[in-house]
Subunit: 304 residues, 2 copies
């Protein structure tokens, strides 16, 4: 039986412009992206907060994915809203508006039924709050966290304290140097692993993902895509697909971890094809399995 | 029996500064790097020019690698010299001095014994001169070329004409867009393949290599390295290792091409560990084979 997953993070209404079009007040936020991606593989318990403006239709969508919303609080006020514009180079984006609204006072509270979750992912929120989630868990098998440069710079002490308590850190290409002071990625990874996590995942966008573990490095390229309409949430979809795959495998081994990283890359490669969760809404398990085979064909030089 | 390889390009004396040290008047140039890298796998015919200041010891070294220097002209004057300084980010370098010297009047002439070479690589020189090499060949099995942004921008017509005559183009990450006008790498690759080559290799430095062929994409990550002392010549070592591996395989198939791309990556990963050809001078075939296995371990998610 698949292990249970819990994700804590934002649920947002995003307004996005890219060279390929735009979308207005669409479902977003780290826990929404993560949970939808993970739901292809295993049931997910979501923790977050929305305002009373949050559409019932989006809640229904998440529930139909098999996502448990007992941990999604609805409070008086407006949902977290973000408006952004991507450059032609989609690695660069401008935040045009950011209204935290009810998310400003978010304190994650796990329903009783979530506390035994085996795989737990802490989406990007204040590291102090991420630690408070850990306090509420009953012996998780794997804990992972994402963050952003802001917390590494501004709340380093809280963040380093969190690192001592988690198994896996998932960060962007520029963040290992920010965190360790080492420009070389191998040296940076060693320093970060020494702070606690047994696994470090470095997300390199169109270049793929690097995984560092104690005596092991794994690299998977990203699938070269012709259509990238909206890169928002790609990192959270990656983490969601990865944790989902691990939950489905029911065991954490070198091999299940590597397959999970590829599954994460597969889901992210679909997610960026359209705005918000639109592509994932239409995605089937057969398409995921076929794309996994495409990743094998992309990278295989082991056989003839 | 291994196929024969011919490489045409520069032979230089480089002076290099990096954060890890410096080297003065050391062996460099595209054909010297390529030929040394290829020589681990098969005999190589080198075409180039040096001045009468070029050290006999360097000629002897190349010959001891099994490199045929019948096509290396020595003319009155000074050898091509380049002086450069790398930034902490080794993707950025400043050229401090550039003296073409005898290389300014280089017109490649293939000795009779070279003309039946089966695998031919045209290092970065004027595209018109690259084409003149092709005129001197007797039915090569595989022709490949490297170039730089300067020729794509300034001699586009000659360069596009060359593309119609070669099998393989090897360029840097920024050049597909410069050549095709398409920012998306998949779209750019399609346009470039339509100009003639059946294979496009995109060198992405620390992110590895992408290969585009008619209906096939292959991606191999670079090996994450802790010691990069001098990245000069990495692209030529990549191409040399690749062509050497193909020559050794004795056939050009999807599988031998992919293994060759990994062999190229292996040789490049060693070359950057030290200045000039110093690391390759000490390299053994056993180390190459072991590093090939390390690349398998780095990328494998196919087996458990």
């Amino acid at each position: 039986m698949a292990s249970s997953i819990c994700v804590v993070g934002s649920v947002a209404l995003d307004s996005i412009e890219t060279q390929q079009g735009n979308a207005e007040s669409v479902l977003g936020g780290s826990s929404a992206y993560f949970a939808t991606a993970a739901s292809f593989f295993a049931p997910v318990n979501l923790v977050g907060v929305v305002g009373n403006d949050f559409p019932e239709s989006e809640k229904r969508y998440l529930q139909e994915c098999g996502i448990n919303l007992d941990g999604l609080e609805t409070v008086e006020g407006k949902t977290f809203r973000w408006r952004g514009r991507y450059h032609e180079d989609m690695n660069i984006r401008d935040t045009l508006e950011l209204d935290l609204n009810v998310f400003a006072d978010f304190v994650p509270r796990l329903p009783e039924s979530y506390r035994a979750s085996e795989l737990v992912f802490l989406g990007n929120i204040q590291p102090g709050l991420q630690s408070r989630v850990l306090d509420q868990l009953e012996g998780p098998v794997l804990t992972g966290a994402d963050t952003i440069d802001h917390w590494i710079s501004e709340q380093r002490e809280e963040f380093v304290s969190l690192l001592g308590r988690i198994d896996l850190l998932s960060i962007n290409d520029a963040e290992p140097e920010l965190l360790s002071g080492k420009a070389n990625v191998v040296a940076a990874a060693r320093e970060i692993l020494a702070l606690g996590p047994t696994n470090l995942l470095i997300k390199r966008g169109e270049y793929g993902v690097l995984q560092f573990a104690a005596d092991d490095i794994f690299a998977v390229p990203a699938f070269p895509l012709e259509t990238v309409r909206d890169p928002t949430g790609a990192g959270d979809c990656f983490a969601g697909g990865m944790f989902g795959s691990l939950a489905e495998a029911g065991e954490i081994t070198r091999s299940s971890m590597r397959r999970a990283i590829v599954h994460g890359s597969v889901i992210a490669s679909f997610a960026v094809e359209d705005f918000s969760l639109n592509r994932l809404k239409a995605l089937t398990r057969e398409e995921i399995d076929e794309q996994f085979r495409q990743f094998m064909a992309l990278t295989d030089f082991h056989t003839s």
